[in-house]
């Protein structure tokens, strides 16, 4: 029952983030939804996996996968936003 609730919430929120990427108009708005996809929905699905796996090797691998996505994705989002600013001509030229 707990697993079903966690999975249902996680999947619904992740699909909402995907729809947000489609619906939003600017690149920066879309990046907000990409960043959100690695936070709450990913941890809800991780929690569902951990309820079943506990701290076995599979559970630790799941923690590693979600942890890496959570920690590394902000770097990617910032790099993409900087490229988008450069393409839009919003970034000041380098001295």
């Amino acid at each position: 029952m707990v697993v079903d609730v966690l999975l249902g919430l996680g999947v619904a929120l992740e699909l909402l983030c995907c729809l947000g990427v489609l619906v939003m108009r600017t690149t920066y708005d879309r990046l907000h939804y990409v960043a959100a996809g690695t936070t709450v929905p990913a941890f809800l699905i991780l929690a569902a996996v951990l309820v079943r796996e506990h701290l076995s090797s599979g559970g630790l691998d799941a923690i590693a996968a979600v942890g890496l996505a959570f920690l590394l994705n902000p770097v990617l989002v910032i790099a993409t936003a900087r490229v988008a600013r450069r393409i839009d001509g919003l970034e000041a030229p380098k001295a």
Binding site: V3, D4, L7, G8, G10, V11, E14, L15, C17, C18, L19, V21, L22, T27, R30, L31, Y33, V34, G37, T38, P41, A42, I45, L46, A48, V49, R52, E53, S56, S57, G58, D61, A62, A64, A65, V66, L68, A69, L72, N73, V75, L76, V77, A79, T80, R82, V83, A84, R86, I87
Partner: protein, 83 residues
């Protein structure tokens, strides 16, 4: 089908809006969709690994998390230089 297999199958539908964004919008928005698809892939692999009870498949999700991040950075660098 157990709950994790159903969840993974439902998550696969998330690729549809991302594909639409990748095809119909600017190149940089396609990169944003690709990054979202990378995160989605990691979660789908986690759910399938748990659903099929194959613990070694969790390692695939770890590799996918790192590789999707690296490929996103590579594409961002490429687009920043050439667009």
């Amino acid at each position: 089908m157990n709950a994790f297999e159903i969840a993974a199958t439902a998550l696969l539908f998330g690729f549809v809006p991302l594909g639409v964004v990748a095809v119909r919008t600017r190149t940089i928005d396609g990169l944003v969709a690709l990054e979202a698809a990378g995160v989605l892939t990691v979660l789908v692999l986690l759910c399938f690994a748990e659903g099929f009870h194959r613990s070694f498949e969790f390692g695939v999700a770890v590799v996918a998390a790192v590789m999707s991040w690296a490929s996103g950075l590579l594409f961002a660098r490429f687009l920043g230089r050439w667009l």
